[in-house]
């Protein structure tokens, strides 16, 4: 962890690990926060956009998540996971909160595709190459699940629906929905193996 002193601003912040940057963010170093934002905002926005299907709502959630990180950076505990997973979990929770506040959700069935610009060719840094490889593995693990298991997982995680809501939607007993969730996640855990820990 970096101390708050003795580090010149000339240090190439982009060469620092997230955990080191968070030490500077706690000291209110705007440039360090900017690096964190640039590293993880695309993943955060993509998750929010996938969940909301609307660019404006996704932007609000991402803005809220990053400002929360800035305001309470000292509350971030690296023993609980990476900065990326912290940001993404905040985005996920805020999106679900937004869904549930609305009650009957005002979401479009079809995302406003085209309004958000798909990231076709991200910078091919080593970290980005690794992330693309990770993403491919997770997508494959998800795609290889039986459709009924994949569906309940996607409806729950990305759709923000509770098991009872999914049961009603699919006309299934709640226990069956929970069982499919468990089977699907356990299979993904088996397929991803130790990679899951590294990706998360």
């Amino acid at each position: 962890m970096l101390g708050s002193r003795g580090r010149s601003r000339s240090v190439d912040l982009r060469a620092l690990a997230d955990e080191e940057l968070m030490g500077l963010v706690r000291d209110r170093e705007v440039q360090a926060f900017e690096v964190i934002f640039d590293r993880h905002a695309s993943a955060a926005f993509s998750l929010a956009y996938r969940m909301c299907g609307r660019r404006a709502a996704a932007e609000d959630i991402v803005q809220d998540a990053f400002l929360s990180l800035w305001r309470s950076g000292s509350g971030y505990d690296q023993r609980r996971g990476s900065v990326r997973s912290w940001v993404l979990s905040v985005v996920h929770n805020r999106a679900i909160d937004a869904f549930r506040r609305q009650g009957s959700r005002d979401r479009r069935d079809v995302p406003d595709e085209g309004i958000a610009e798909r990231l076709a060719a991200p910078d091919a840094t080593d970290a980005e190459v690794q992330r693309r490889d990770d993403a491919r593995q997770v997508r494959t693990a998800l795609d290889e699940l039986p459709p009924d298991q994949r569906r309940v997982i996607e409806l729950a995680y990305f759709g923000g629906l509770t098991h009872n809501q999914i049961a009603q939607m699919l006309d299934l007993p709640p226990g069956t929905v929970k069982g499919r969730m468990r089977l699907g996640l356990t299979k993904m855990r088996y397929v991803l193996g130790e990679e899951a820990r590294a990706i998360a």
Partner: protein, 226 residues
């Protein structure tokens, strides 16, 4: 369900772990599962394993560029944040003083102020359950992680919510991100995010819905961890 599933404390182990990590339990079920989780090693293990999968799920999404105006807005707000409004690094009586004055308006609904003293054995595997002298709150610590169970806490008016904080050393409490309400009987059970190692107090305040980055009212619960 597997043959290894068992029933503990009236809860069928394994049944809810996947729904919990997916965020798919009903809000009314979450507290009960967390209370069960605090005492069940099998569910703790399953949750930890499945959280690795849910933690990786966001990586499966189609990747989009961050809208430039979003970046501009966030950085503009960050730069505009006076350092004094950022989370202070030292004890700030000032941050609690307006809270005390403000809290007077809600004095009628502040019904408890509990002080717990908890011996925290770092890395220990035992569960410590400390009952407050008033019998209105307890902090359970298992392997350095805490669950706060409250009883007979006041229902809050619309637009207000309870917010959970942790304090390290003599610094100003930092938000845990946990906001909660209580059931009709005034009970609630909430997990304290993160490890309690280095934490010397867990606090609860009443805040505007949505929470705040710094406490704006005096705490209604102070659980000291030593």
């Amino acid at each position: 369900m597997t043959g290894e599933d068992r029933i503990a404390n009236g809860h069928r182990c394994g049944e809810d772990a996947a729904a919990y990590v997916l965020g798919a339990l009903e809000p009314s079920e979450v507290d009960a599962f967390r209370a069960h989780l605090a005492d069940c090693a099998a569910c703790q293990r399953e949750v930890a394993e499945l959280e690795q999968v849910t933690g990786a799920l966001p990586e499966s999404t189609t990747r989009y560029h961050v809208p430039k105006d979003l970046r501009r807005r966030v950085m503009s707000e960050v730069r505009a944040t006076p350092k004094a409004q950022a989370v202070p690094r030292k004890t700030s009586a000032r941050s609690w003083r307006p809270a005390l004055a403000w809290g007077g308006a809600f004095a009628a609904v502040v019904i408890i102020a509990v002080v717990l003293v908890v011996a925290l054995s770092s890395g220990g595997s035992s569960t410590k359950t400390i009952q407050a002298s008033t019998g209105s709150a307890e902090l359970r610590i298992t392997r350095g992680r805490g669950d706060l169970i409250v009883r007979r806490l006041a229902q809050l008016p619309q637009g207000r919510i309870y917010e959970l904080w942790v304090q390290r050393g003599s610094s100003t409490p930092v938000p845990t991100g946990t906001l909660f309400g209580v059931r009709l009987d005034g009970t609630a059970a909430v997990g304290v995010p993160g490890s309690l190692n280095g934490v010397n107090a867990v606090m609860v305040t009443q805040e505007p819905a949505g929470g705040t980055p710094v406490p704006t009212t005096a705490p209604v619960i102070v659980a000291r961890v030593t």
